[in-house]
């Protein structure tokens, strides 16, 4: 690596300033850990998902159509780019199991090859079913057991021949009443299409799965398929828009953003610490450089010698970070993300590794190189000569004698010294700023999520139960005349095809309800209560933002079996959870559509009406409390993340303050010893060093608040696309973060103070270095 003697010298030098070099190492490790760790999360998810999609031959789009004909199939298969088409039957069914368990049923042809279940145990054959692996685990079902599902009102008993997972069920929730995947209540089952004969009296299909060649223009395929199927078309879903795939992609996107933004702070701090350490080291070895030069070492080897300090630490730090990051984050966190993948095997993004390594080498080696670049230009003779005393400089403040003359000498010293080492000051300010910012963000994200669940299930929704009903058995008139004892509100939750002003075509969730909305209380972005518009639609803020549209814009909505009709966005509402379009039933009807409620919200005046709940019209129900709990149960992961963030912030503050404190002390050891000899007490000397730290703590804390705001906003907006978290920071969180930072700073300062007590004043005075 380096010539023997110089290498030994560098090891000894590092041992001499071990605190500094350990700090650089810790920061470099943290930076690389965070960068590669966050990166490995999305990379692992993406790769494992892709492997699974490929293995199960997941379709690129699905055309939902009632009873497709052979001609339909044939015509679609002839569209440019389409390589395979198949029909299947896809629906939801109740089970004979406890707890309202529902299964998504996929009925496949015998020779089908698209959208296959990935068998974990047993096999898939003509006579039986393949059941969702996690659903089976949750219900203690094994291969060889039987399960009954209810289709078209008829119970169908099926032997379980295998357990599997599905590419279409990596991350899905049962319905709008559930918020996080729960294998107790929802799963899927794959059956041979033939088993349905007995129920429907014939082979029944409702979906065409389409596989296209890579790089096919899917929009064109969609348009052509649309014109082929014509009026019978119910909808076309692209793979990326399908529930599970879009959820998974959302997750991937979140972590991509986080892995790009979050590590920046740590790289900056690594560079700053390296800079201050190496400048001091090189300065203190001025004469040694002169000696090396006069001995005949050339420019290159001296430059490399000092650069190698940074390179060594950088390499060590990145090795540690590359081991820690992917293992801590990728290996441990990915299985916690509630995604059902065939494998959670860690996938290594070597490009990201290389990029992290390059960045960290720039921050350590590059900075070290720059630090000694200046000195090596001098001639050996001038280097060997004693360096003139450090220059004192007049500062701006002196030009105002009325202030300057009143300042005590010790404060003058602090002011001059601080202003002379601006880089160090900036470094410690950034460190404290980062610490405050990260802690504020951690607390804010936590309290936002707690607050959101409280807000959503406290302020926005005030029902006791959300009862999902079967629109075929209960229309709105039936429901209105039930005479239930309580306040009720009917809602229809479905999806509509929408064309946005930019031409983008998407399926969006839509909720239709009455203008008089006693159990859903909507608010605009400022928090004022609003109601559904009479002559247009309401859209949630987050959806508007993602699409880049606003109040007053018009979008096109596709009516059932007809063409598009323009509608105006009259209101924009802030909804923390439940993004989509909201419309009044009267307006919906004026578009020529029907209002067929899918759920009944109710606030009971007495005990819940069990007779109604058990009736045929009711398919499922959930209480507001259970929904609330469902959201809160994901708090475990949040708490873990909060703790991790706080530790990161604390180490940032600690490393930076410790370094500035120690450097401030070591660089001035002669001055401080002189003062000590002149009769300054320990306390007074300590202040000379630490006031600078107090100052950066003050500035850092204040400037950390907007940083915290930014990070909070960043995390909040990338956390979950179904949620609109504002990430507003609260005073109490700022105060807690400030208190914690001051606490860390105080600990650091007392460690420095203890170091300073060991100051050997005589040693320092003996000679000029």
């Amino acid at each position: 690596m380096v010539r023997g003697a110089l290498f030994k010298k560098s090891l000894r030098d590092m041992r001499k300033s071990k605190a500094q070099f350990i700090s650089i190492f810790v920061m470099a490790t943290l930076a690389v850990t965070i960068m590669t760790g966050l990166d490995s999360i999305w990379f692992t998810v993406q790769n494992n998902a892709d492997i699974m999609y490929n293995a199960t031959n997941l379709s690129d789009l699905w055309v939902t159509v009632q009873n497709p004909s052979e001609q339909d199939l044939w015509a679609i298969s002839k569209i440019d780019g389409v390589i395979q088409v198949e029909k299947r039957f896809s629906t939801e069914a109740d089970t004979n199991l406890s707890g309202n368990a529902t299964l998504h049923v996929y009925a496949l042809n015998d020779r089908s090859t698209l959208d296959q279940p990935e068998i974990q145990e047993g096999r898939f054959n003509k006579s039986g079913a393949v059941l969702d692996n996690s659903f089976a685990k949750a219900h203690n079902l094994k291969v060889g057991d039987t399960i009954s599902i209810k289709l078209n009102g008829v119970w169908l008993k099926l032997p379980i021949n295998g357990l599997a997972i599905s590419s279409e069920q990596v991350s899905v929730v049962k319905n709008s009443a559930t918020l996080i995947p729960d294998p107790n209540t929802y799963g899927f089952i794959v059956i041979p299409i033939g088993t349905l004969d007995s129920i429907y009296g014939q082979k029944i299909y409702n979906q065409i799965s389409v596989k296209t060649a890579p790089d096919t223009d899917l929009n064109e395929v969609v348009q052509k398929a649309d014109s082929i199927i014509g009026d019978k078309l119910i909808g076309i879903t692209l793979q990326k828009d399908s529930l599970s795939v879009s959820n998974v992609n959302g997750r991937i996107q979140q972590f991509k953003i986080l892995s790009l933004v979050f590590p920046i702070l740590f790289f900056i701090v690594t560079a700053l610490i390296t800079q201050s350490t190496m400048v001091r080291l090189v300065e203190s070895q001025r004469t040694q450089i002169g000696i090396l030069k006069s001995l005949g070492y050339n420019k290159g080897s001296i430059l490399w010698h000092y650069t190698s300090y940074g390179v060594m630490i950088g390499v060590l730090g990145s090795v540690a970070g590359l081991i820690l990051g992917p293992n801590l984050f990728g290996r441990i966190l990915v299985p916690q993300l509630q995604l059902t993948l065939s494998s959670y095997r860690l996938h290594i993004n070597y490009w990201n590794f290389a990029f992290a390594l390059l960045l960290i080498l720039l921050c350590t080696g590059g900075v070290s190189f720059y630090a000694c670049w200046q000195l090596q230009k001098d001639t050996p003779a001038s280097l060997l000569r004693d360096k003139p005393p450090k220059k004192g400089e007049h500062v701006f403040l002196e030009s105002i004698p009325s202030i300057w003359d009143k300042i005590k000498f010790s404060n003058k010293l602090i002011v001059r010294n601080t202003l002379k080492n601006k880089k160090r000051l900036i470094m410690s300010i950034i460190g404290v700023m980062g610490c405050v910012g990260v802690i504020i963000a951690a607390l804010t994200v936590r309290s936002t999520i707690v607050g959101i669940t409280d807000q959503v299930y406290g302020d926005t929704f005030t029902y006791d139960q959300k009862i999902l009903i079967d629109p075929k058995k209960a229309d709105s008139r039936y429901l209105k005349n039930l005479g239930l004892n309580g306040i009720t509100q009917l809602i229809q939750e479905s999806a509509v095809e929408v064309i946005y002003p930019n031409g983008e075509q998407k399926m969006e969730p839509i909720t239709i309800t009455t203008i008089d909305s006693p159990l859903i209380h909507m608010k605009d972005v400022e928090g004022n209560p609003i109601s559904l518009p009479e002559n247009g639609i309401l859209m949630t803020r987050k959806l508007c933002k993602t699409l880049g549209i606003d109040k007053g814009d018009s979008i096109q909505i596709k009516r059932t079996g007809e063409d598009y009709v323009p509608v105006q966005i009259v209101q924009v509402a802030y909804m923390a959870s439940g993004q989509g379009i909201y419309a009044a039933d009267s307006y919906w009807k004026s578009l020529g559509e029907k209002f067929s409620p899918t759920a009944l919200l109710i606030q009971w005046n007495g005990p819940p009406d069990q007779r109604f709940l058990q009736s045929d019209a009711v398919t499922d129900w959930a209480t507001r409390e259970s929904q609330h709990l469902g959201l809160s149960s994901s708090m475990g992961v949040i708490n873990f993340a909060v703790a991790a963030l706080i530790i990161m912030g604390a180490s940032l503050a600690f490393v930076v303050l410790y370094n500035t404190g120690i450097l401030n002390f070591v660089e001035r050891i002669r001055d401080l010893s002189t003062l000590r000899v002149l009769g300054f007490h320990n306390r007074e000397i300590r202040n000379l060093v630490l006031v600078e730290n107090y100052f950066s703590i003050l500035i850092g804390t204040i400037s950390g608040i907007p940083v915290g705001r930014f990070i909070s906003w960043l995390i909040a907006s990338s956390l979950d696309e179904r949620m609109d978290l504002l990430g507003n920071i609260t005073l109490s969180n700022v105060l807690i973060a400030t208190a914690m930072t001051i606490c860390f700073a105080w600990i650091t300062n007392s460690i420095i103070a203890r170091k300073m007590k060991q100051l050997e004043m005589l040693e320092a005075l003996k000679s000029v270095e």
Partner: protein, 233 residues
């Protein structure tokens, strides 16, 4: 009248398993307002004597009494107070605070001492009234040492301790500095102790302690000490 008394003072250093006696049971007394030199080769123990007298180091045996107070056995805090009020230091390498101007370096003494002398006046005395607002880096070695003398005396201490004050200066500047130390401390009635290996300087002193191997080999008294100009360097 004994102003400074050393009684069987001993200083041991433990370096690994070996014990080094830097100062080995020495006794001497010095009177108030005198000009004294501790003379010896390097390693003779003279700096240790100065350090113990200055409250920067403590003895391992014996007693040190200054101005009727025993300073051996004082606590860390008391020693600092002692240095602050009683002692002025002049160092071989000046040890000015680089971030403070000449004037501020002297004012620094003003700030910590209970009964200081005027900083500007002290700088005038050492002939630096025109360089008061310069930083140490803008001053020559001799000028820096003059600032350092002004700083030591501005505290208005009882004792001025000088460790090789001319060690880093050429002979002409050295003479000037010595004259200054002598004149100013004479005017202000200070007790001066200079530590040096430079034999001719001792001819200026009223008392000369010759040190060798941690012991006082010889004590010399000059009734009529020489002037700086008379010394052959």
């Amino acid at each position: 009248m004994d102003f400074i008394t050393f009684e069987n003072v001993e200083r041991e250093y433990h370096i690994g398993n070996t014990i080094i006696k830097a100062v080995d049971r020495i006794s001497f007394t010095l009177s108030k307002g005198t000009f004294n030199v501790v003379l010896g080769q390097s390693g003779a123990g003279k700096t240790t004597v100065l350090n113990m007298l200055g409250g920067m180091d403590s003895c391992t045996a014996g007693r040190i009494i200054v101005n009727d107070k025993e300073i051996s056995g004082m606590s860390e805090y008391e020693l600092t107070e002692y240095r602050r009020t009683q002692i002025g230091f002049v160092f071989q390498f000046y040890n000015l605070v680089p971030n403070l101007t000449a004037l501020e370096n002297v004012q620094l003494a003003e700030e910590i001492a209970p009964d200081p002398l005027d900083a500007r006046e002290m700088l005038q005395r050492v002939g630096l009234e025109k360089r008061m607002n310069n930083f140490p880096s803008q001053l020559s070695g001799g000028e820096q040492q003059r600032v350092s003398i002004a700083r030591a005396l501005a505290k208005n201490p009882q004792i001025v301790l000088c460790d090789e004050p001319t060690g880093a200066l050429d002979s002409e500047t050295g003479r000037m500095v010595l004259r200054l130390i002598r004149d100013v401390s004479n005017d202000l009635d200070k007790t001066v102790i200079i530590v040096t290996h430079n034999v001719p300087i001792s001819e200026m002193a009223q008392t000369v302690l010759h040190m060798r191997d941690g012991k006082i080999a010889k004590t010399e008294f000059h009734k009529f000490p020489k002037n700086v100009e008379e010394i052959i360097w």
